[in-house]
């Protein structure tokens, strides 16, 4: 029986979630069915989900929780009467420390139980906002970990604890680290370089601080 993977990103096939799913699946394409929340009717997708014994939902973090369209699917999910079904989650996010996903992780853990699924786990991963734009080489370690996660899942139907732990690092910033980042930011060395570059490319840098609705 195939495992259903749900891509919960509003960007569907064009986002980071998709890359993570691809690496997790690896060469075992015939074992998975992938669906996209961005392209499906949530009611129909929730209905379709019932045909599978195992479901893995992969999504980006949107302001400490799931994207709105993902919640619209969750609203349609019903408690299963069959025992022995299992559900797991992978949450990836932009900020480098993965702790921002802790609220969502707690919610998803409770959700799986409430829906009467065996809870496989929630993999959280920070610092992922650029993976689909970066050259493959820069993601080498991450991709290897995801591949191992996928292989282990195929064999055992579980997420390997050590891999989950590695992927979550850093969970939070140490005091020294956040102070360092704060000072670097003050010096102009930060992600802002990236944002300003994009703004410049779009001829919008001079409008960066606009307040159109004040």
């Amino acid at each position: 029986m195939k495992t259903l993977i749900i891509n919960g990103s509003p960007k569907g096939r064009n986002g980071n979630t998709e890359v993570i799913i691809e690496k997790f699946i690896g060469s075992a394409k015939n074992l998975y069915q992938v669906c996209y929340v961005a392209n499906e009717d949530p009611l129909k997708l929730a209905e379709y989900m019932k045909r599978f014994d195992a479901v893995i939902i992969v999504m980006p973090l949107y302001i400490h929780a799931m994207p709105g369209i993902m919640m619209k699917l969750i609203e349609c999910m019903e408690r299963t009467i069959d025992d022995g079904k299992s559900m797991g989650f992978i949450v990836q996010s932009g900020f480098r420390e993965s702790e921002h996903s802790k609220y969502l992780k707690r919610y998803l853990t409770a959700l799986a139980h409430k829906l009467n699924y065996t809870y496989i786990g929630t993999v959280v991963r920070g610092g992922s906002a650029g993976i689909c734009m970066m050259p493959e080489k820069m993601n080498k370690k991450l991709f290897k970990q995801l591949q191992n996660l996928g292989e282990h899942f195929r064999l055992t139907r579980t997420f390997h604890g050590d891999i989950v732990e590695e992927l979550a690092k850093p969970i939070r910033l140490s005091k020294g680290m956040s102070m360092l980042l704060y000072f670097l930011f003050k010096l102009g060395i930060s992600d802002s370089i990236f944002w300003n570059g994009m703004l410049k490319k779009n001829n919008a840098l001079d409008r960066k601080f606009d307040r159109p609705f004040a």
Partner: protein, 160 residues
């Protein structure tokens, strides 16, 4: 006079306010994750359906949200509304608070009070919902001291 904005998903607790946003009547377009609001048209979403809402939100002293708990969380519609608040903040990240946080775009944000309707089957799930909302409005630079279930005495509190 204090300016209020009401965002609601259920009836029975209306008080006079400057702007009413009924989430059952308005379908907010979902965030598509395109980042136009940060890198192409700073502060503006590619969709314009919330432009009036943004103005009212930023003008308000107090925003009152009547949230209908669904699957033990905020509804998908309300979550989409929260996603669409991202244009009101900057892409740039500060580490001042010991963790990453986006900088404000505007000088002032409203205070927020959240009253919810619906049951939780455990203390744990109630705590998840409440903590999540507190954290969201911390990122949104709003003072949010009230996240609680709605009841008979709420009406007085809301109008007080």
């Amino acid at each position: 006079m204090e300016s209020n904005l009401f965002i609601k998903e259920f009836d029975g607790f209306d008080i006079p306010c400057q702007y009413m946003f009924d989430l059952r009547k308005t379908k907010v377009k979902d965030c598509v994750g395109c980042w136009s609001c940060w890198i192409k048209t700073p502060g503006r979403c590619i969709n314009t359906d919330l432009d009036e809402f943004y103005k009212a939100y930023l003008k308000a002293d107090k925003v009152i949200i009547l949230s209908k708990v669904n699957q033990r969380f905020v509804s998908g519609n309300l979550k989409t509304l929260f996603d669409r608040m991202i244009p009101l903040f900057m892409p740039d990240i500060t580490f001042k608070h010991g963790e990453a946080m986006h900088l404000p775009r505007y000088r002032k944000y409203p205070d927020v009070e959240i009253y919810y309707q619906g049951d939780f089957d455990s203390l744990d799930s109630k705590e998840i919902y409440e903590n999540y909302l507190h954290r969201t409005f911390a990122q949104f630079y709003s003072k949010c001291e009230v996240v609680k279930p709605i009841n008979q005495s709420s009406m007085q509190e809301i109008s007080g």
